[in-house]
Symmetry: D3
Subunit: 243 residues, 6 copies
C-alpha cells in the first residue's frame, strides 16, 4: 500500500509547526496562544478565590475548563452557541475532556480552596483543536500557578507534572500523527491521546469513523502519540523557560 502524502511534505510521524505564545492577552493570570499549524487556540487561566459547591469546605481546590469556537473559526460559519442558547454535545464533551486532563496533573489539596478556570477559545480551526487546547491550557495554568507562588498565595506548586495531547489516525491505511482538518475528515480511525510528562496515559479516546480498527493498529497509533506528546512536552518546557 502506498503511503498517504501529507500537505507540505510532512512525514507521517511529524507534528505540524507548533508555536506557544505566552502573555497573548494582558488581563488573565495565564494567557497562551497555541498554534498547531493553522489551528490557533487562545487558552487563558483565571484564578478565582472560591470553589464550586461540591468542594466547599473540603480544603481542596478545583480546576475546570470551558471550550468555545468563534463562529468563523471554521471553513463555513457555524452558529454562535451563545445566540442559540446552548452548547453542543461536542463542545461539552471537549471541555469535560480538557478539565479532566488538567486535574490529572493537579494536587487539588495543595491548590487550596480556589478555582483555576481554563478558557480555551478556538480562533482558527484546522483539526486538533482539543489537543492544542489541552497542550496550551497546561502552559496557561503553569503561568497562573507561578503568579500565585510569586505573590505568596501558594508556598509550593500543586502541579505534579506536565500534560499534553495529540491526535493520531489512520488515513487511507497510513497511520498519521497530528491530523489536520482534511486528514481528519478522511480518516478511518481517529484517536485523541492525553499523556503526562512521565509518559503515562491520562486519556485515550479512539473512534472508528469508518471500519473498526484492530489491536495492532491501535498499538501503532499509541506509539505515534507517545512520540508526538514527548515532543510537545519539550516545547512546553522551552516556552516556559522564556520570560
Amino acid at each position: 500500500m502506498t503511503a498517504f502524502t501529507r500537505s507540505g511534505g510532512r512525514a507521517a510521524d511529524q507534528l505540524r509547526p507548533v508555536r506557544i505564545t505566552r502573555g497573548f492577552t494582558i488581563h488573565a493570570e495565564g494567557s497562551v496562544l497555541i498554534e498547531f499549524g493553522q489551528t490557533r487556540v487562545l487558552c487563558t487561566a483565571s484564578v478565582e478565590e472560591k470553589v464550586p459547591p461540591h468542594k466547599k469546605g473540603s480544603g481542596e481546590g478545583w480546576v475546570t475548563a470551558e471550550y468555545g469556537m468563534l463562529p468563523r473559526a471554521t471553513h463555513t460559519r457555524s452558529s454562535r452557541e451563545a445566540a442559540k442558547g446552548k452548547q453542543t454535545g461536542r463542545t461539552q464533551e471537549i471541555q469535560r475532556l480538557i478539565g479532566r486532563s488538567m486535574r490529572a496533573v493537579f494536587d487539588l489539596a495543595a491548590l487550596g480552596e480556589r478555582t483555576i478556570h481554563l478558557d480555551c477559545d478556538v480562533l482558527q480551526a484546522d483539526g486538533g483543536t482539543r489537543t492544542a487546547a489541552i497542550t496550551g491550557a497546561f502552559v496557561a495554568a503553569q503561568d497562573a500557578v507561578d503568579k500565585l507562588i510569586a505573590s505568596g498565595a501558594l508556598a509550593a506548586s500543586p502541579i505534579k507534572g506536565h500534560v499534553a495531547a495529540i491526535s493520531v489516525g489512520i488515513v487511507e491505511g497510513t497511520p498519521l500523527l497530528d491530523l489536520e482538518y482534511t486528514e481528519d475528515s478522511a480518516c478511518d480511525t481517529d484517536m485523541n491521546v492525553v499523556m503526562t510528562g512521565a509518559g503515562h496515559f491520562v486519556e485515550v479516546q479512539g473512534t472508528a469513523e469508518g471500519v473498526a480498527f484492530t489491536r495492532e493498529e491501535m498499538n501503532i497509533l499509541l506509539g505515534l502519540a507517545e512520540k508526538g506528546i514527548g515532543e510537545l512536552v519539550t516545547l512546553q518546557k522551552q516556552a516556559l523557560l522564556e520570560s
Copy 2:
C-alpha cells in the same frame, strides 16, 4: 499485591449475570430490557420513515440514540433533566457514544431514507449503564430491522455485524472486567470499550481517574475487554434466537 475481592465472589475477569429480555414493552419495533447485574436499562428501537435534514435526499438512512436516567435510578435522587430544562454533559456524551457505536455496524445506504431511534433509559443504575445500553440497543435495533424485513420494507439487512460494549478498570491495582458502582467509584483507571462481533474496536475511551496508566496496563485492560465482549456477543446471539 493482593487482588481486590469482588462482591459475590466474582472473578476479576468475570461478567456480572447478564439478562436480555426482548419484547419488554409492546409499542416499540424493538424493546429490550438488558441487565448487567443490578444495572437495568430499557432499550427501545423506533423506526421513523424520514431522516434528519443532513441526510435528506441522500438515499441514506440514519441511526441515532438518546440516553436518560430515571431520577431515582441512583443511590440518591438526581434531578430530572426534563424539569431542569437541559441534559447534562455526561448524558450528551453517552448518547453520542451509543449513536456512533450503532452506526459503526449499520450500512446507512442499505437502510434507506429512514431513521432508527434508539432510546436507552436507565431504570436502575449500578455501574456500566452506557455499556449495557450499547449492548441492549443492538438487540433492539436487530428486532426493528427484522420487522422491516418481515414487512417487506427492506429486502436485506443493513446490519453488518454485532456490536457490544463493556467497562474495564483497575481497582487497587487489580484489573477488573465489568465494573459495578462501588468498583467504578474506587478505580484508578476506567475504560469503556466498544467492539464488533469480529473482534475489532469501534470505541476505546480510557480515563485515568487517579494516577495515569501505563501502556502495559492498557494492554491488560484491552485483553479483558476482548474477553467480555466476546461473551456478550454470544449472549446477544442467544437472545436473538428466542422467538
Copy 3:
C-alpha cells in the same frame, strides 16, 4: 342504544387487571410498578432531609411529584422532554395533580421538615397513566414513610388515609370505568377522579371532548368512579400487606 363493547369482554364498570409490584427497583425508599392492564408506571418515593424555600423554618414538610413518559411508551415515539429542554403543559398539569393528590392525605406538620419526592415514570402507556401514577405513588409513599418510622426518624405516620384515582368516560353513549387508550381517544366525556379511602373527593376533572355533558351523566360517572376507587384502595391495602 346498544352498549359499547370493550376489548377482552370487559364490563362497563370493570377495572382492567391491576398489578402492584412493590420493591421494583432497589435504591428508592419506595418503589412501585403499577399496572392498569397494559399501562405500566414506575412510581418511586425518595426522602430528602430538607424542604423547598417556601417551607423552610415552618416545621412542616413537603410532598411533591414529577411525571415523565419514556419516549417510546406510546404508539408512536414522542420526543424526549429532556432533549427538547422543556416539559409540555400536559406533563406539568399531571405532575401538579399528582402532587396535590398526595398532599391531600399527608399531615405535613407530622412529616417534619423533610421532602418526599414522588417520581412517576410511564414505561408503557395505554390510557389512564395519571390515575395509575396516583394510585401507585400512594403505595410508594407509604413504603417510604414506613422506612422513616422503622428507622426512628418518625414516631407516627403523617399519612391520614389512602388516596387513589381512576378515569371514567362516556364512549358512544356508554359510561365506562377505567378507559384504555382506544376508548379514551373515542370518548365524548373524560373524567379523572381522585378520592380518599374514606370515599371523599380530592379532585374531579371532567372534560367534554365532544358534546358537553349533563348533570345526570356526571352523576353516573361519579358513581362509576366511586366503585372503581373503592376497589383500588382494597388492592393498595392487599399490596401493602405483602412483605
Copy 4:
C-alpha cells in the same frame, strides 16, 4: 353552623358586579375588558389566516388561548414570566383550559383553515381570573367571528353556542359562588365550572384544598355554578347587543 359573611354584604349565591367592555383596545378583531368585581382581564381575539401544523390541509381551523398576568396584577409583585424565560405550570394549565373551553363551542370545520388566538391578560387579580378570562374570551371571539362574517370571509357563524365559567367553593362550611381572593385563600374546596349556554358541562375542575369533599357538597356547588353561569350568559348576550 353560621354562614360565612362576604365583603360588601354579598349573598352566598351572588356574583360580584360583572362588567363587559367591548372594543377596549383598537387593533384586535375582538377586544374585551371583563371585570368580576376587582378582577380585570383583557381578552383579545386575533384572526390569523393559517393554522398550526396539526391542522394543515385538514380543512379545519383552530382556536387557541394564551394567558398571562401582569407582574403587579397581584398583592405582591410576581416575577415576569418573559424575563424568567418560562411560563409556570399554573399558567399553562389555565391557558389549556381556556383553549379547550372555547373549542367546545366552535365548529372547527365551519371556521375554515384559520386560527383564532385568544389572549387573556390579567390587569388586576382578585380571584376568579380564569373564569373571567373564559367568559370574556367568548365575547371577544364572537366579535372576531362577526367581523369575518361582515367581511364575507365566513358565510355563517362557526360558533355553536355560548360558553362561560365561574368558580364555586366551600369556605368555613358555607358554599359560595364566585370566590374573591380572600375567600379563595380560605376555602376548603375550590371548583371551576365551565358550561354552555344550553346548561351543559364543558369542564368541571374541583380540588379539595383542605379536607376532601362529599358527593353532597359537590352537588350543592354544581347547583351554584349553574345559577351563576346562567347569569353570565345573560350578561354576555346583553353586552353583544350593544354596538
Copy 5:
C-alpha cells in the same frame, strides 16, 4: 419642501393628547396609565424591602424596570415572549433604557436598601411606547415614594427631580415631535430623548433609519424634544397634584 401633513391636523411640534391616570390598578404602590394619543402603557411601581446582590450591604437601594407588550397591543399579533421563553433584544434594550432613566433622578443612598420595580406594560401601541413608559413610570415611582414617606419608611424623598421622554424624527424632510406609528415607520431619522425637569439630557438615542442625518438636523430635533419634554413635565406635575 412641503411639510408632512399629520393625522388630526397635528402641528409638527405638537404632542399627541397626553392623559395620565393615577391609581389605575389597586395593588401596586404606584399605578399609572399613561396615554400618548392611542398609545397606552400601564406603569406600576412596586416596592420590595430588599436589593439585588450587587447592592447588598451597600446601604443603597436600587431602581429597575421591566417592559412588555401584550401580544395584541399591535396591528398584527406578535408572539408572547413568555411562551417563546425569551425576551427580544428590543424588549431588553427598552427596559434597560427605562431603568437608567429612572436611576438618573434617584438618590439611591437616600432610598435605603430597598428596590423599586417599575413594570411598563403596553396595552395598546401606536408609536412612542418607550417614551410614554418613562414618562408614566416617573409618576408611578413618585406615588410609591410618597407612600414610603407617608408610612414613615422614608423621612425625605430620594427623587432629585422629574424625568420624562419623547421621540422626535424626520419624516419626508419634516422634523416632527412625538411620532405615531405610521410616522415612525416612514421616518428617516428617529430619536428618543430623555431629559430631567431641569432641562438636561439623560439619554439621547438617535438612529438614521434611512439616510444619515446632519449636525443641523440633530439640533432641530433636540430643540423639538426640549419643547415636548417641557410640556410633559408640566403634565406630570398637574397629574401629581390631583389626589
Copy 6:
C-alpha cells in the same frame, strides 16, 4: 477646572493608537483584527448565499452582526454566555447597534439575496469595544464584498460609503475622545457616535451616568466624535489600500 490627565500623556482629543490587521484569520471572506490601544476585537465577515425569512423573495440581501466577549477579555473573568444559555441585554444591544450601523452604508438591493454575517469577538477589552467592532467590521465587510466582486458574484459594490464609530465622554469635567476602561468607569457622560465617511450621523447614543448633561456639553462631545471618526475613516482607507 484642571483638565483630567490621561494615561500615556494622551491629549483629550487624541485617539489611542489604532491598528487594523486584515486577513487575521484564513477562513472568513473578511477577517480583521482591530486594536484601539489595548482593546482588541476580531471582526469576521461571512457571506451566506441565502437570506433570513423576512427578506426571502424580496430581491434584497441582509447584513447582520453578532457580538461576543471571551470570558477573560476583561479584568475579572465574566461567565461564558454559551454556558449560561443566554446573551446578556448588553450583548444584544451592542450587536443590534453594529448591525444597524453596517446596514446604514449598504444598498441591500444591490447586495442581492445573500447575507453578510459580521462576527465581532472581543479578545481583550479596555473600553470602546463596540466602537472598535463597528470600525473593524466595516473593513471586514469591504473585504468580503471585494471577494464577491472579484469572483463575479457582484458586478458593483453595494457599499455606499464608510462607517466608523468612537466613544466620547466627560470625565471630571473634561470632554475626552476615545475612552479607555478606567475613563469609562469614571465618566459622567458617555456617548457612542457612529458616522459615515461623509460626516453624517448614523447613531448617537448618549447616556448620563452621573449628572445629566447640557446641550453645550453635547455639542462639544459631538465635535470630538466628528474629529475622531474622520481620523478612523482615514485609517480604514489606509488599511484597505494594503494588499
